[in-house]
């Protein structure tokens, strides 16, 4: 049988970067194929080439036995290839049906009007055929991430896709939603569809895929049978060396309370409560983790704590000072460091160089400012220290933030925030998009601060991260704390259930440690 996709010697070169280097890839029809690799290994670039977003510098693309050249995504779509990006390509203000049919709307009246009824019916039919539950009339902005993803899948199916590419589809899902997604994979392959998905999670690749191709530094370093391989083998292929998969934490010896949140209620822009009556404390010398599926109020909670959003009700105390009504600047002055979730929007000013970014948040600090005059020399020295300590690439303080890769921006932000000599660090997804080496380094720094008696509040959608370095773990679901658990005691399944809103069974206790 001819393979669904066959890539032959694909090379993609960007100015100064060789993203893909002579990559071969064969995907059989009706199978699930995982593309595994670290960030920056060239997985997404390869798939963008297959999808016609990039033209390859050299190499051949063969679809279903026919050689193709794609100049634009439409060419790939015409060849039966569909792609679901990490950032969903959905128009928030439109409904599911409108998004699914975008660009290929069914028409009536000689093409003068969109046939809305037809569009809705088409989506309903598709849902039934592939067993996907989505209401066609709901606006995207009102849907959970999982359903949005299903909408994306519907979009590609609607266009008659045979080969579905998914870029890190599980990154934002709960364990339960991941399960559901994997069963959707099965339904799709049963009907003859072929699936390629990008991931950097070993377990997932092994669980969901029939075959796994590992990319490293833009090269294909091996294709293995998912049944036959081991985690260790894959990890070694990915990183090129043996990897320690566990983070070691030192002894847990918490001190006084540094952050106390009491009955906090926060509303979103529409005036709806997205955080309801949340209470918890973070002590000096401890890492308090918050787990939960994205969009369950974590970001609003963090914004309220860090002073970026005014809470509706409740009390926040930092040390022994109430800071509920303090603004952002006063909180910074009180020793609250914050690694924000969205580095492009908040963490760095993209058009500033690194020196100017080094000052962000310290523009009133006496260390850098005399009587309103900024001491750029001292700021530059400070920036150079961060760059060196956190191995920010390129090590050029005059480079603009936008010239840095996401991982390096993140390292810079972490370096700047942790250098504040804080009493509390509020870290949101601190290692998102950062390579394994730097992730280790950032974790080490957070643990060092913990050892030095700083309180750390950690939010992450990476379960292994929050479980790995937290001392206590609060689980959020729909704006409430479902439970606070011992991360070492709880199993992944139990955690998944909590994240899905199941009330905790009383038995989850210290006895059940693995």
């Amino acid at each position: 049988m001819t393979p669904a996709i066959s890539l032959d010697g694909i090379t993609k070169r960007f100015p100064g970067v060789l993203a893909n280097d002579d990559v071969d890839l064969t995907v059989e029809r009706g199978t699930v194929h995982a593309l595994l690799g670290e960030n920056g290994a060239g997985k997404t670039t390869l798939m963008n080439v297959l999808y016609g977003l990039y033209e390859p510098t050299s190499g051949r693309i063969v679809v279903d036995g026919t050689e193709r050249s794609f100049e634009k995504p439409q060419d790939a779509i015409d060849a039966g290839i569909g792609m679901i990006h990490q950032h969903f390509m959905l128009v928030d203000s439109m409904t599911v049906a409108e998004n699914v049919t975008l660009g290929t709307e069914p028409r009536k009246w000689g093409g003068l009007a969109i046939d809305r009824d037809q569009a809705r019916q088409d989506v309903v039919d598709l849902c039934e055929r592939f067993g996907l539950a989505v209401d066609p009339e709901t606006r995207i902005s009102e849907l959970s991430v999982g359903v949005q993803q299903r909408t994306e899948i519907l979009k590609t199916l609607y266009r008659g896709t045979d080969v579905l590419i998914l870029d890190e589809p599980t990154a934002v899902l709960t364990p339960q939603e991941i399960e559901e997604l994997l069963s959707v994979f099965e339904l799709l392959t049963d009907q003859g569809k072929t699936i390629i998905f990008i991931t950097h999670k070993l377990g997932e690749a092994m669980q969901a895929a029939d075959e796994i191709t590992v990319l490293r530094d833009g090269r294909n370093v091996g294709t293995v049978d998912a049944e036959a391989t081991t985690r260790e083998e894959l990890a070694e292929l990915m990183v090129g060396r043996e990897v320690l998969l566990e983070v070691e934490t030192s002894s847990y010896d918490p001190g006084a309370v540094t952050l106390s949140v009491d009955d906090l209620t926060v509303t979103n822009e529409q005036g709806i409560d997205v955080v309801s009556d949340v209470s918890f404390t973070v002590r000096r010398g401890e890492v308090f983790g918050i787990a939960g599926v994205d969009g369950n109020g974590q970001s609003e909670l963090i914004e309220a704590i860090t002073g970026l959003r005014r809470p509706q009700a409740g009390v926040i105390e930092l040390g022994d000072r109430e800071i509920t009504d303090d603004d952002r600047r006063e909180r910074i002055d009180q020793g609250m460091a914050h690694i924000p979730a969205d580095r492009h929007e908040r963490g760095v000013v993209m058009d500033f160089d690194l020196v100017e970014n080094g000052l962000l948040g310290s523009q009133h600090a006496e260390a850098f400012v005399n009587n309103g005059r900024i001491d750029w020399k001292r700021t530059r020295e400070h920036t150079e220290t961060i760059i060196e300590e956190y191995d920010v690439q390129p090590p050029n303080p005059d480079a603009s933030a936008s010239a840095l890769s996401g991982g390096n921006q993140q390292k810079f932000i972490v370096g700047r925030e942790l250098a504040r000599d804080p009493q509390l660090v509020v870290a949101t997804h601190p290692t998102r998009g950062v390579d394994i080496g730097s992730t280790e380094f950032i974790h080490e720094r957070l643990l060092e601060l913990r050892a030095a008696g700083v309180g750390v509040l950690l939010v992450s959608s990476k379960l292994e991260e929050v479980r790995g370095i937290s001392d206590r773990l609060g689980v959020m679901y729909e704006g409430e704390f479902v439970d606070t658990v011992d991360p070492e005691a709880v199993t992944e399944e139990e955690l998944g259930l909590l994240m899905a809103g199941e009330q905790p069974a009383q038995e989850v206790s210290a006895d059940e440690r693995e």
């Binding site: 760095v348 500033f352 948040g361 523009q363």
Partner: protein
């Protein structure tokens, strides 16, 4: 070393310079602005020739390729740029023809009347340009500099008329009144700018709309106030009584009747430096710039965004108000309704300057020349002076498309230029 070797080396050197300059944004900015000016002149030339065939005249102003044209582009641009400087060039100075007479025309003084007009327009444009640039840097689209200028102009005129009887005459009076007038203008402009600031910060009202509306309101309100309460008796136009001499900015070097004061220009240039310093070296400026580039990032960095919006519009308004005070205290000597559109011109100045306060100091004179030169064109050629407005628009248009020039620049650097032949290069 052979000639072709040398040529290749010079070209390589040149290309390296170009390559390096393509990286430094200030130089690039300058190159692009110059190229935009050049291209605008080129398009303008075509326009002049075409319109010279569209109209009818008895004698041709110029003949090119055996075709007569009613307007001569050479004369037009000569009048536009040199006329605005009071014709400095000596007609006998023709270096291209190997004649090196003194470059400046005999009897030409840099302190001539045309130059005074150019510089006094420049002075006001520096203020309005700074006003717009500052707001833009803070991410606030202040279209209301015009209204703020009117508010400042009116307030300083009325304020000085109230104060004049109180202070003594002579130098002492001037020392007291001139700064007072400027301050009143700045405060009034600032307060008027604060209105859209407050509306934006606390009512989320789009500042583009509110400032456009407030421009109309300012003009009408000034008309009401002056015509109903401060009308100069016996005058046929809506204006206040003239300011006493001690309330006007004393002219330096230039003839007092030219209504231009070097002192005012010096103050304007000083403000350019001050605003530059403010933006680059102070916490306030840093916060303004941060909010302008990335509001969410500014919020993250502890910038009080609402306060920054209000502060930037207030400051921007104050600069506009100062421009108005200058207009009243230097150019008019009283307040009259029908204030020229300095505020809108400030937008073009700021755009050409890339919103850089020091850039404003270079862009303002260009538009000063254009404004002053358009008068010379009207009186010295038969060309309708509105052409100058077209040129101004074209300059702005071309400045808006740096990518176009980069493309050309890149091509010039990358491609081996098709060398025509060596012989062309000698003098």
């Amino acid at each position: 070393m052979s000639e072709s070797d040398m040529l290749a080396r010079v070209k390589e050197r040149l290309r390296a310079v170009l390559r390096r300059s393509a990286q430094t944004s200030a130089v690039e900015r300058l190159l692009i602005s110059t190229a935009a000016l050049g291209l605008a002149v080129l398009v303008g030339t075509v326009l002049i020739l075409v319109s010279g065939r569209m109209t009818t005249c008895t004698t041709a102003a110029a003949t090119y390729f055996g075709v007569g044209f009613c307007y001569d582009p050479v004369t037009v641009f000569d009048r536009l740029f040199l006329g605005a400087l009071g014709d400095p060039m000596n007609p006998l100075f023709r270096p291209l023809h190997g004649e090196f007479a003194p470059p400046f025309r005999k009897g030409w003084s840099p302190f001539n009347a045309a130059m005074a007009v150019t510089l006094r327009e420049t002075t006001v444009l520096v203020f309005t340009g700074l006003s717009v640039a500052l707001a833009f840097r803070a991410g606030v689209f202040n279209i209301g500099t015009q209204g703020q200028l009117v508010a400042g102009a009116l307030a300083s005129a009325l304020g000085l008329l109230v104060l004049a009887p109180i202070v003594p005459g002579g130098a002492v009076g001037a020392v007291l009144l001139v700064p007072a007038g400027l301050c009143i203008g700045a405060v009034a402009g600032g307060l008027y700018g604060a209105i859209p600031g407050v509306l934006k910060a606390y009512a989320d009202a789009n500042e583009v709309i509110t400032t456009i509306m407030l421009n109309f309101v300012a003009a009408q309100f000034a008309l009401y106030l002056v015509s109903n309460h401060f009308q100069r008796p016996g005058s046929q136009v809506v204006e206040t009584v003239p300011l006493p001499d001690v309330g006007t900015i004393p002219s330096v070097v230039f003839d007092p009747r030219t209504n231009f004061s070097l002192l005012a220009l010096a103050i304007a240039i000083g403000f350019g430096g001050v605003i530059y310093y403010l933006l680059q070296y102070t916490t306030m400026g840093y916060e303004l710039r941060t909010s302008g580039l990335q509001p969410a990032g500014a919020e993250f960095g502890g910038v009080k965004t609402k306060r920054t919006i209000i502060a930037s519009l207030t400051l921007s308004g104050a600069l506009g108000g100062l421009g108005g005070a200058m207009y009243v205290m230097m150019i008019l000597g009283n307040f009259q309704t029908g204030v020229p559109s300095y505020g809108f011109d400030g937008i073009t100045v700021a755009i050409l300057a890339g919103n850089n306060p020091l850039g404003v100091l270079f862009a303002a004179p260009l538009f000063g020349i254009i404004k002053s030169g358009s008068i010379v064109i009207d009186t010295a050629t038969s060309m309708p002076p509105q052409l100058v407005d077209v040129l101004r628009g074209l300059i702005v248009l071309f400045v808006a498309m740096p990518e176009f020039f980069r493309l050309i620049g890149r091509r010039a650097i990358a491609d081996e230029p098709s060398v025509p032949n060596g012989g062309d290069e000698d003098a």
